[in-house]
């Protein structure tokens, strides 16, 4: 009796499936519970990976609920590559689609923030522009284009995701208040740090990423958000080492 890996694989992920014939114990009897060792290894190791990947979600839901959810998730979306550091990419959408969790609408975005923090942690290294890179005459600043570090991430949300994250990771953090929040992740050294972006900050960064100048992106953003604070946004990026290049394009004279 030969056991194909398709049969083995199906029985591994489905605890209600019969244990494949052709697997034996030391007395040449059906393997029974011995097969469960593999079932258990797969489920436990992937559940553990989910806990490590989403500590704030685990805290919000509680260990037991997270175990249960991970069990459903890992069977529906087993890892698609051996790079476990990136496992859980589909977890935010999975959470967003769970009807029983619809009263916790912010969960999916909190999971997206945790994913972005991990991506930032493993992103390529880059050299930050020097602290005085923007110590330029105002007209030059407005003409400048910026390059960003691969470890920089933006997460936009209709939920107070930054405050929720902070409330669950830092002592004495303020209780989250309803409202949208955009989060900037920078990685000054090796540890990613989330920051709350000023209103309009995410729009301005997105415009810079399309190749606009600081001034062009500012005009566009300020038209939509008159209170947009360019100085505060630039300071967050500079202090976080997220700006890697400053290029000034002068008109030919």
């Amino acid at each position: 009796m030969s056991v194909s890996q398709t049969t083995f694989h199906t029985a591994l992920l489905d605890p209600s499936a019969a244990i494949p014939d052709g697997l034996l114990d030391s007395a040449a009897q059906p393997a029974g519970r011995r097969f469960s060792v593999y079932r258990n290894n797969v489920a436990v190791s992937l559940t553990e990976a989910m806990h490590q990947a989403f500590p704030v979600i685990t805290k919000l839901l509680g260990q037991k609920n997270m175990d249960g959810l991970s069990g459903i998730f890992l069977r529906k979306h087993p890892p698609s590559s051996p790079l476990m550091m990136f496992y859980g990419e589909k977890f935010p959408d999975f959470l967003g689609g769970m009807e029983q969790l619809s009263h916790l609408g912010y969960l999916a975005d909190v999971a997206r923030l945790e994913l972005a923090l991990r991506r930032s942690y493993h992103a390529a290294d880059s050299e930050a522009a020097p602290a005085d890179a923007l110590a330029l005459p105002p007209e030059d600043i407005m003409q400048a284009k910026l390059g960003f570090a691969p470890s920089m991430h933006i997460l936009r949300s209709g939920w107070p995701v930054f405050s929720i994250w902070r409330f669950n990771t830092e002592e004495d953090a303020a209780k989250p208040q309803p409202g949208p929040e955009d989060t900037l992740i920078t990685r000054p050294d090796y540890d990613p740090v989330p920051h709350l972006l000023p209103v309009g900050g995410a729009d301005w960064i997105a415009a810079i990423q399309t190749g606009q100048t600081i001034g062009g992106a500012f005009e566009e953003t300020a038209a939509q958000f008159p209170e947009f604070d360019l100085g505060a946004t630039l300071a967050l990026l500079l202090q976080g080492g997220a700006i890697t290049s400053v290029t000034i394009e002068r008109l030919a004279t």
Binding site: Q5, H9, P82
Partner: protein, 285 residues
């Protein structure tokens, strides 16, 4: 490639440990008798950040063994060429002292199951594994070591014993072997064979590295002992005795302590390495 040509390009016949990032500072301060480190290849396949920075630093001082856990060499399907390319990249960059993988499968139908799954030992699986190892050694550009698994069950269809199967793979592909002594003990207990008999049949001249680790104890449906390879505690005395039995026959080899779950503080892991050093000291060179 990193400039780490000053240190040995082979694993020394000395104790090594599986590297855990929480031990970084203490390893740099007080490694002795740990003379080399092993990493799980897949944990160092990101684009940058702390993992690669630490590895770069450690590789300047220690020979490094790259141990893959995700290639699925025993898989029925073709090897994952993306993963093979990542391994080639890591090995090319790090220029490690050793590269090893498992006699197991972990990927099927594009699902990675994060466990080392068993396979039957038949002529068909033998030839498939040899093809996979040929491709790995060709792609990565160096000899690999293949590790024996921990077994919890047997396949009715198997026609080869595990030592013979491994010997034949090594003969056909030119690969070396990584002998996990704890795995031999676990499999021998679970499947009722003599661990010393296994070692007697095993081609010790092909061994480039030895693994030791802790296991958990359980029972099967019939109350038969069922040991589980958990890497979560100290190596037990009978496994240390089996190491002595191996070393008496093989001579000194690089000996690694694996401790992957419930990772202890550095002094506890280092004490295991001291025990491995004592075992090596008992062996005439």
């Amino acid at each position: 490639m990193l400039d780490n040509t000053t240190r040995s390009d082979r694993l020394p016949a000395a104790p090594g440990v599986g590297y855990k990032p929480q031990h970084f500072a203490q390893i740099l301060e007080h490694a002795h008798p740990v003379a080399w480190l092993e990493i799980h290849a897949e944990n160092y396949m990101g684009d940058g950040g702390r993992p690669l920075a630490q590895l770069r630093h450690l590789s300047e001082q220690f020979p490094i063994s790259v141990h893959g856990v995700g290639l699925s060499i025993g898989g029925e399907g073709p090897l994952d060429t993306d993963h093979l390319a990542r391994l080639k990249h890591l090995v090319g960059w790090l220029n490690p002292a050793s590269f090893s993988e498992h006699l197991a499968w972990s990927t099927h139908d594009s699902h990675f199951l994060n466990d080392l799954l068993p396979l039957p030992y038949t002529d068909a699986t033998l030839s498939r594994i040899c093809d996979h190892i040929d491709l790995v050694q060709e792609s990565v550009g160096r000899q690999m070591l293949l590790e024996n698994p921990s077994s919890y069950l047997a396949f009715e269809e198997s026609t080869w014993s595990e030592p013979d199967f491994l010997r034949e793979i090594a003969r056909r592909t030119g690969c070396g072997l990584l002998l996990d002594v704890n795995n031999v003990f676990v499999s021998a207990t679970n499947l009722d064979f003599s661990p010393q008999g296994y070692i007697d049949a095993y081609p010790l001249d092909k061994v480039g590295e030895i693994h030791l680790g802790g296991h958990d104890e359980d029972e099967d449906d019939h109350g038969h002992a069922l040991l589980i390879d958990s890497h979560g505690r100290e190596v037990v005395d009978p496994v240390w005795a089996l190491l002595d039995y191996v070393l008496e026959r093989s001579g000194p080899k690089p000996v690694l302590i694996e401790w992957d779950t419930d990772v202890p503080d550095w002094p506890v892991l280092r004490a295991e390495a001291e025990r491995a050093q004592a075992a090596l000291d008992r062996v005439p060179a």
